[in-house]
Amino acid sequence: MPSATPTTATPAATPASKPTSQALLQLDAVTKSYGDLDALRDISFAVQPGEWVSIMGPSGSGKTTLMNIIGCMDKPTSGSVLLSGQDISRESPRALTAIRRDHIGLVFQQFHLIAYLSALENVMVAQYYHSLVDEAEALQALERVGLAKRANHLPAQLSGGEQQRVCIARALINRPQLILADEPTGNLDEDNELKVMAILRELHDEGHTLIVVTHDPEVASAAQRTIILEHGHLKEIRNNQP
């Protein structure tokens, strides 16, 4: 089986698959199978701290499976996934929950806000399961995404863009090492898409490590590198910026 490392996939690829002591995330020959079907096959790449990486590919290419594995919500069938040097592919579900809570901020395409809690409370839920609830800090996170005045509104009273920004504030509240966003602009209009992208740029500028799963080339191009998947293979790793 051919290796899908960036070196063989494309000359433009960076040598990110090589294990480095600096890499925040290191995937090595990751395969995920569902019976006879390989959702991911032999995926290897690395993400450096502070890097913004996009994962692109058509439907069924394995983007969400890859995100679930990186987000500690699934485990690969084979291969290893190192997060800050810790092999999360061998960890128990309980340990994965703790890693997810302490190191990863999740942004979802469907926002997944708790409908009966206000925007502020949705942010505080992440605090509650992480450590201690700090309402002022949660309000600050909302202020950062421009929603301080909507803090007491229920999700149903917010627009899609506002809900996504609450989702980002929730992902940021525990200062994760890695922000993992699944189609963060997938359900947004252009105006809100621009706002969310601006927040992501700001986060990147502040030194956050971002992995954004998207099928939108424009969103993908905002990242430093784009990892392109096709039928579960790593087709290409593209450098977007000189």
């Binding site: 309980r94 809570r101 997944h112 708790i114 399961y129 699944d182």
Partner: protein
């Protein structure tokens, strides 16, 4: 934050939570009613069963020894064994005095009509008003102990010493009707059914006895052979009582009795009248006692054989429990020289009926809780399914399985406990309806029911939530958030 989430979850799922609360309320109301009735039904059923007669008989030791050892009737053996009728009141001085609901001394004798027909006569108290040694006023008598008798006419009353109640068979044979008169003459020395009774055991010389003032004195209206040579009987307490020659008495038939047993062939008079006819002033042949008892268990059975064989702790437990044997023992302590024995058929029936009634109520309690558990199981499953995205999310945010389960469980427990309180209060109402409808009296709210019901409720809520919790624990965030 957690409490805020719980409150908001309950508010958001108010329809489902209301259904859960109502299901729990329904189950717990039945359980509460049944448990309260079950804990109070002992006395209620016992009181109902008191209508079927005395459950303890007290006899002089001598009479019972002959009967037990030789199968002989004391009278047939020529032994008179009496106890002072005044001793009867002592049954209300024992440790379980409160459980003694009725009692009467009885004096059985043989009399004959002018035509020579021998008649078994029993003297007893009828609505006898007395002051107990405790200072308590009490009315007791055979009319309460034989409440199932069908009476044509009216019951005798205390002091109605010129009246008689005649069994239906005897009345037909003698052609008696209510209002008719009959003369009964006591047979010499005959104080039981057996006409062969000779009364030769009376050792004291005639006419030397004294009258017991507490037993009801002989009526001055007594006619016939009164005043002829008498004897003194030795009573269980050793005190002398007046024993004189039998007399005759003309009595008015107050009622015809249909009892369906031996009583149909007997005549019943007041104790004073019977004492006058037989010449046994102040004496009785036995005492019938109706007491509320606790069904026998192994301890009671062991104690009934020999209370001295029990350990000090067992003895104390037995003595302080209203077992028939314990009450008998205490009666024997209170009245020296007597033997008190439970009427086994009655005592056993009371125990069996009580146990079956309580078992039935226990089954209803269990079934009601099982029903509530099944209902809760469905409702909680539906609630968890509805909240699967939320539960997946909080797991994705870092909530452990236990934390996610606790979030769901606590909202169910709080809702269930609210329903439980509602059900408990409703159950108290149902218990009163049952009490008034079935037993004609209120059911006391047993404090024990509250912790019992709380434990049952928590168990039912936990068990009912178990299937939903299992599916919740199996829920993977990736599946609910990303569909895989």
């Amino acid at each position: 934050m957690f409490i805020r989430m719980i409150i908001k979850v309950i508010a958001r799922q108010r329809t489902k939570m209301l259904m859960i609360a109502l299901t729990v309320a329904l189950g717990s109301s039945l359980a509460s009613a049944m448990l309260n009735v079950m804990l109070d039904v002992g006395d209620k059923v016992n009181r109902e069963l008191k209508a079927y007669g005395a459950n303890i008989t007290v006899q002089p030791k001598g009479a019972l020894l002959l009967s037990d050892l030789y199968g002989l009737d004391a009278a047939a053996a020529g032994v008179d064994a009496y106890l002072p009728a005044s001793e009867a009141a002592k049954v209300k001085t024992i440790f379980w005095a409160y459980n003694v609901v009725d009692f009467t001394p009885l004096l059985s004798l043989q009399a004959e009509t002018p035509s020579g027909r021998e008649v078994a006569v029993t003297g007893a108290w009828f609505s006898h008003q007395q002051s107990l040694p405790t200072g308590e006023e009490l009315q007791s008598g055979i009319d309460n102990l034989r409440s199932w008798w069908e009476i044509e006419g009216s019951w005798l009353v205390d002091g109605e010493d010129d009246g008689v109640m005649v069994g239906v068979t005897l009345a037909e044979e003698l052609g008696l009707e209510v209002g008719d008169q009959i003369t009964l003459s006591g047979l010499t020395g005959a104080t039981t059914d057996d006409p062969a009774d000779s009364g030769t055991a009376d050792p004291a010389p005639a006419g030397t006895g004294t009258t017991d003032p507490a037993s009801g004195t002989t009526d001055p209206a007594v006619s016939g052979d009164a005043g002829t040579a008498g004897t003194a009987a030795t009573t269980t307490s050793g005190e002398a009582t007046a024993v004189s020659a039998p007399t005759s008495r003309t009595l008015t038939v107050r009622a015809i009795i249909t009892a369906g047993g031996d009583e149909d062939n007997q005549a019943f008079v007041t104790l004073a009248c019977a004492q006058a006819i037989s010449g046994k002033t102040g004496l009785a042949t036995s005492i019938e006692v109706s007491a509320l008892t606790t069904p026998d268990n192994d301890l009671a059975r062991r104690a009934a054989q020999n209370p001295k064989s029990l350990s000090a702790k067992d003895y104390e437990t037995w003595y302080c429990t209203a077992y028939a044997s314990a009450i008998c023992y205490q009666i024997e302590e209170a009245i020296p020289g007597v033997v008190a024995k439970p009427v086994r058929q009655v005592a056993a029936s009371e125990g069996a009926i009580l146990e079956k009634t309580q078992l039935l109520m226990l089954f209803i309690t269990i079934l009601s809780m099982v029903g509530a558990g099944l209902g809760i199981s469905n409702l909680v499953s539906a609630s968890v399914m509805e909240r699967s995205a939320e539960i997946g999310l909080i797991k994705a945010l870092g909530a452990s399985d236990a934390a996610a389960a606790w979030l769901v469980l606590l909202s169910i427990l709080l809702t269930g406990l609210a329903g439980g309180v509602l059900g408990y209060l409703a159950g108290l109402g149902f218990a009163q309806i049952i009490g008034l409808g079935v037993f004609g009296s209120q059911i006391a709210a047993a404090p024990l029911v509250i912790p019992l019901l709380a434990v049952l409720l928590v168990l039912v809520l936990l068990l009912g939530s178990l299937p939903a919790l299992r599916s919740l624990l199996r829920l993977r965030p990736a599946e609910v958030l990303h569909g895989r």
